[in-house]
């Protein structure tokens, strides 16, 4: 039996969530405070979220806006793909045959490709909240993602015929580069399209309302939550380039956070929140650097690695204006930072000093601006399901080592 005489100032919610702690391409986590609807006076709330990218902005480590495939390097080193193998190996001897001896000079751009591509992505999520008592609720969220890397174009940066070794290298190594990467390293350097679920999030949340009978401050609403993300999401496919995980890449994560909403002058709400994710390290086959010059999209070796994931911090600052008839508008600033990951490799004699230079392990950040319009059906008694509708647009305006989607989205929640 659903208990209805709950404390009116507090709600209890449990949410399930379908995104990774770091959702791919910086999509919103469905349980993000920024869009989380309140449970009003019912017990169960169903949430549906749709977010569609209409643009992507990628930022390199210096914050410069680049193509999504220039995130870590502006050029990919196809030569280095063959480096780092034993001197007696076939690959080493092929390289040494043209890079050594007389005429063994290589031009500045020999073996370098400038690769570009476009990212197309979308996200949906379903959420279920169950208000328990004393402001507590349990929530579950499950996200779904579609991601596509398209229009991938590898443009050779070197002069094929101006230098002896460049020409010989082209003949011996790069005339069928895409086929060779597939056959020799099981790595497809073309575009791809992936769909799948993200990580299932289970959370316990407490929130309460503390009315303030002052002229300026009308209500204080704190929210606190913690939970777990179960790695149901699609993992990174190591045999294609630049695919993000649809979750935490097989790792268990523990999200937690808090928010403070301050209602003032009846029409304004100030929102500040902080969310954090601690991701447990996990072991998985991953592509690693085996030679210092290797670039992120062209790594030859897939080996079992233990990854110590970086800690994630997300901060939002928002202002909501309650208009009329349940309509509201909101502006929000979103900042997220993921600390550097650490890889441990215990096989193939991989050098830790080389492995650790993989740029995709580096810290990432993003800055978003979000504008939204919403309708809160709770003001209408006749709406039994208390529908809440939230239309939003999110635009990234800065970041580092991250591809961020510009999105439009909608969220609908109904209570029962």
């Amino acid at each position: 039996m659903i208990k209805k005489n709950f404390i009116i100032y507090s709600t209890l919610a449990l949410a399930t969530h379908t995104a990774s702690a770091i959702a791919p391409y910086s999509f919103l986590q469905p349980y993000n405070f920024a869009i989380q609807p309140d449970i009003q006076d019912k017990t169960v709330q169903i949430v549906g979220l749709v977010e569609q990218a209409f643009d992507t902005r990628s930022y390199d480590a210096d914050g410069k806006q680049v193509n999504p495939l220039h995130l870590y390097e502006s050029q990919q080193d196809a030569l280095a793909l063959f480096q780092g193998f034993d001197s007696e190996s076939e690959f080493a001897q092929i390289l040494n045959s043209f890079a050594m001896g007389p005429g063994g000079v290589l031009s500045e751009n020999a073996g370098l490709y400038t690769v570009t591509g476009d990212v197309k992505a979308g996200a949906q999520a379903l959420g279920l909240s169950w208000k328990i008592s004393h402001g507590f609720s349990v929530r579950a969220y499950l996200p779904f993602y579609q991601a596509e890397l398209k229009n991938v174009d590898w443009v050779y940066s070197g002069d094929i015929d101006d230098i002896f070794s460049d020409a010989l290298m082209q003949q011996d190594l790069f005339n069928a580069f895409a086929q060779d990467t597939k056959s020799l390293f099981d790595l497809s350097i073309n575009g791809w399209k992936e769909t799948g679920v993200g990580d299932l999030a289970l959370m316990v949340q407490w929130q309460a309302n503390f009315p303030q009978y002052r002229k300026a401050l009308n209500n204080v609403q704190p929210r606190i939550r913690f939970g777990i993300e179960i790695p149901t999401g699609k993992k990174i496919n190591e045999n294609i380039i630049a695919m993000p995980a649809f979750g935490n890449d097989g790792a268990l994560a523990f999200p937690f956070g808090a928010e403070l909403n301050l209602q003032a002058f009846k029409y304004l709400e100030f929102k500040v929140n902080a969310q954090f994710w601690y991701i447990l390290g996990n072991t998985k086959d991953r592509r690693i650097k085996s030679f210092a010059n290797q670039t992120t999209l062209l790594l030859p070796s897939v080996v079992s690695t233990y990854k110590e994931h970086g800690f994630i911090q997300n901060f939002n600052l928002g202002l909501k204006i309650n208009l009329t008839h349940g309509l509201f508008a909101r502006a929000l600033y979103d900042y997220e930072r993921k600390s550097e990951d650490i890889l441990f490799v215990s096989q193939n004699g991989a050098l830790a000093s080389v492995v650790s230079t993989l740029k995709s392990l580096d810290e990432t950040t993003h800055h978003y601006a979000m504008l939204s319009l919403g309708f809160d059906g709770a003001v209408y008694e006749r709406f039994k399901t208390k529908p809440q509708i939230h239309l939003f647009v999110r635009i990234p305006f800065n970041g580092s080592a991250a591809t961020c989607v510009s999105t439009v989205g909608a969220q609908l929640s109904l209570e029962f």
Partner: protein, 853 residues
């Protein structure tokens, strides 16, 4: 359609054209730096600057400040250092006193002798050139804080044991040490015996005070120990011609005439015993032998210069210039460097290897047994090629002004330029021969009288000093700087390279076509540029594409130039297949009008060409091919078959994945054909009669480059440097070999024992990264890593290395320096080549040419 560009430059300069002449005093004009002549050129390590010292008295007050001048390392202007007044500090009975604002005794005076003392070589000791036979100079000056705001002079007048002042003969010192030794004679001609005494002066680096701490009395019988039949030693300062200080010990080289009874050794040593007293003895245990170290009976000889050579193999030789009449020779003798019999000429077979430590690593190598001159005199006779530096080759003019040793190489400055000779080593590290004297740094040619020079072994930058530079009535001097630049030793060469190779050189070759005529050939895309000092040519080679290989071969009736590269092999030949004269003297004869680059054979991606007499060897990835030259094979119409045979199949010897990387001919006279072939999986020796054998490498098995840094005309043995490399793993190391080439009996490559642990094969040098180019003349080890391998491109110099140390990479910390070329964003260097005509070192790459001159 083939094109040929043929333009001859009008410049007939033979000497270097880049030369930066340092700007000096205002009265100097033309090529002069100073309007007076110099005593010496000294490097002040602490200030990283060069100091010059006048030998002439200077009368013009405006010029007197330049009597001692400083040239900053990267500067091109001489900065005057002398002032008219100065503080002078003297010592009297252990107490010292300083008087300020005294007339500067150096002001306007010429300087007779300078030694840069102090641990940083920043403390010059000198005496003036004012003395005469009857009134010799008796004062020694030290210059303290000369470049500071409070410069001062330190003055001492050495006394003999009787308290008499001394005529200063020479100042000696141990480089880097604070103990100084002064050689002096009694100032009174009436009582002046043969060098009267040696004053041991100690300089305090804290107080700067000079003090005489010891008098070494050499009057009584010391010279008698040198030779009982010593006939005469002139009682003037010329009796002591050369000296060399080794720690506390001092070698003296004499001007002497041996008596009628037996030959006399030219060199003695003052050896400091543990009690501080000195022994003096001849460095040869038995004088009565004929040797390069002795003056034959009743014959005068002079030791003009003494230097040590601490070889890269860890052994010590004494290098000396000996003058007999007008004939100069430079000799090398091994020296005992263990405590007993220290400084004596050594038995070359007495190598003591010290590896008696916990790690078992070699810590030193020494000769430890004196030569038995009675039974082993052959070791030090001029018939032994190991003794005769420069192979005894006569130099035109022949006056050796100065002799300096850097690394394994002896340099001489002469009245015809600067020359060098490099030591060649046996597997055990002893010297077995020397390369012939060869020009270096571009300062060659009749009348280029170089009095002195200094080369900084951490940078290759150097300076030379020339006196006798006449401008009108003024006889002055010049200081010329030797440095890397985009200068153009072959006037117009660089311009042609820019024009026809788009400034990108993929190969650079010095082709010595006769003993007196050589050409430089720069290769690149679709063209090559040939040059002599006075002319250039740029034949079209678009049928070969990117050209990286060149050589020449002869059938005794004609010579041909061959080039190889991306699209195969080309030969420059007339329509009837004829090449050029076998005695060319001009570039026009080598590339005559009508001679095109004709494609021959069925080759592609040729990496290297070599030739022995009439046989051309072609290195492709898959192996080595050979053919013999014949006009009929190169005719434009109906050529006969090239008759190519494959003499080395890389897969057969090095495995299915292997490829050939480099090769070099080890015999040039055609009597037998030897090749050393490098592959991505091993080093091989090819002998025409004995087939292919593998040469063991200590570590890396992939061969990057094979270089002969040292081989000479007529030599049947040489030293070979193999750069074992692995681009794929960014590694490189150098392994040295002695190549034997026994005519008719096959050849052999023996590794030079640069072992870290006794009898454990190890490389000579291990680099921290792949090196694209490598060059050495025994003094410097130059290498580059191209930008594609390591951004930015690096240019590295090593110097002062010893094999058993460098294989542990100690060298990389203490003896490796980075050089900077004066160009923006260099991408690759393809070759480092020394021009045989001028001795200028040339580096080729995407930046065109850089030259060290």
């Amino acid at each position: 359609m083939k094109r040929i560009f043929l333009v001859f430059a009008t410049s007939f300069l033979y000497l270097h054209t880049h030369c930066v002449t340092i700007q000096g005093d205002p009265n100097a004009t033309g090529d002069q730096t100073f309007s007076f002549q110099l005593n010496s050129l000294q490097y002040n390590r602490k200030n990283n600057a060069l100091w010059t010292f006048s030998s002439d008295a200077i009368t013009d007050d405006a010029i007197k400040p330049y009597g001692i001048s400083k040239i900053n390392f990267n500067g091109s202007v001489a900065i005057p250092l002398l002032e008219e007044t100065i503080s002078i500090t003297t010592v009297n009975s252990g107490a010292y006193a300083t008087l300020n604002d005294q007339p500067n005794p150096l002001w306007g005076h010429g300087i007779a002798n300078v030694f840069m003392s102090g641990s940083d070589a920043d403390y010059p000791l000198l005496y003036l050139n004012d003395g005469s036979e009857t009134n010799p100079t008796t004062d020694v000056y030290g210059i303290n804080n000369f470049t500071s705001s409070t410069p001062g002079l330190l003055k001492i007048s050495p006394k003999n044991s009787g308290g008499n002042s001394a005529a200063i003969v020479q100042i000696l010192g141990a480089p880097g040490g604070s103990i100084l030794t002064l050689c002096a004679a009694d100032s009174n001609p009436a009582t002046r015996n043969v060098p009267a005494f040696i004053s041991n002066i100690q300089a305090s680096e804290t107080t700067g005070v000079l003090q005489q701490v010891q008098i070494i009395n050499v009057i009584s019988g010391v010279l008698g120990q040198l030779s009982t039949s010593l006939q005469t030693i002139n009682n003037t300062s010329t009796n002591l011609c050369a000296s060399l200080v080794d720690g506390y010990n001092m070698y003296l080289g004499f001007d002497l005439t041996a008596g009628p009874a037996r030959p006399t050794c030219l060199v003695g040593i003052f050896y400091r015993q543990t009690n501080g007293q000195y022994d003096f003895y001849s460095i040869l245990s038995e004088n009565s032998v004929t040797s390069v170290l002795t003056a034959p009976t009743s014959t005068n000889k002079q030791v003009a210069h003494l230097q040590f050579m601490r070889t890269s193999t860890g052994l010590t030789y004494l290098i000396l210039t000996v003058r007999t009449g007008v004939q100069y020779n430079v000799y090398a003798v091994p020296i005992v460097t263990t405590l007993t019999n220290y400084g004596m000429v050594a038995d070359v077979n007495s190598i003591f290897i010290d590896d008696n430590n916990s790690s078992g690593a070699i810590t030193s190598k020494n000769f430890d047994t004196p030569l038995n001159a009675a039974t082993q005199s052959a070791q030090i006779q001029s018939s032994n090629p190991a003794v005769v530096v420069g192979q005894g080759q006569a130099l035109s003019g022949g006056v050796i002004e100065n002799m300096i040793v850097y690394g394994d190489t002896a340099y001489i400055s002469t009245n015809n330029g600067i020359y060098y000779s490099q030591a060649l080593f046996n597997p055990n590290g002893t010297i077995f021969n020397w390369t012939p004297w060869a020009p270096v740094f571009g300062y060659t040619g009749v009348g280029v009288d170089i009095n002195s020079f200094y080369i900084n072994t951490a940078s290759t930058i150097g300076w030379n000093m020339q006196n006798g530079i006449v401008q009108g009535p003024v006889t002055g001097s010049a200081i010329n700087k030797i440095e890397w630049s985009g200068g153009d030793i072959y006037s117009g060469f660089a311009q042609y390279i820019n024009q026809y190779l788009n400034g990108v050189i993929q190969g650079l070759f010095a082709l010595k076509l006769t003993s007196s005529f050589s050409i430089m050939l720069a290769t690149g895309k679709n063209a090559v540029v040939g040059a002599t000092p006075i002319s250039q040519i740029a034949p079209d080679t678009s049928n070969i594409g990117n050209v990286v290989a060149a050589t020449w071969a002869t059938d005794t009736a004609h010579n041909w130039i061959f080039v190889g590269g991306q699209k195969g092999l080309g030969v420059f030949a007339q329509a009837n297949g004829a090449g050029f004269t076998t005695t060319p003297t001009t570039l026009g004869q080598v590339f005559p009008v009508g001679g095109d680059c004709n494609s021959i054979g069925n080759f592609s991606y040729i990496k290297k060409l070599q030739a022995i007499a009439d046989t051309v060897f072609v290195l492709q990835k898959d192996g080595v091919y050979q053919f013999t030259v014949d006009s009929n094979k190169f005719a434009a119409a109906n050529p006969t078959d090239l008759a190519v045979t494959k003499i080395f199949d890389v897969q057969e010897y090095a495995g299915k994945n292997a490829a050939c990387t480099d090769m070099i001919c080890s015999r040039f006279d055609g009597a037998n054909k030897h090749l050393v072939i490098g592959t991505t999986n091993g080093l091989f020796f090819y002998d025409q009669t004995q087939g292919v054998t593998r040469i063991d490498l200590p570590n890396l098995q992939s061969v990057h480059r094979i270089e002969f840094p040292a081989w000479g005309n007529g030599l049947t043995s040489a030293n070979m440097y193999v750069v074992a490399g692995d681009y794929a793993n960014a590694q490189a190391e150098i392994v040295r070999f002695q190549l034997f080439d026994f005519s008719g009996a096959g050849g052999q490559a023996r590794v030079i024992q640069d072992y870290k642990y006794t009898n454990t094969l190890s490389p000579f040098v291990i680099y921290t990264y792949f090196q694209n180019t490598f060059w050495t003349n025994g003094s410097f080890y130059l290498s580059t890593t191209n930008k594609r391998a390591l951004n930015p491109m690096t240019f590295t110099i090593m110097s002062g290395i010893r094999g058993y140390d460098s294989s542990t990479q100690k060298i990389l910390l203490y003896n490796t320096y980075s050089l900077t070329l004066p160009i923006d964003n260099p991408i690759f260097a393809s070759s480092i080549v020394q021009d045989p005509a001028t001795g200028v070192l040339l580096m080729a790459g995407n930046f065109g040419l850089q030259e060290l001159s």
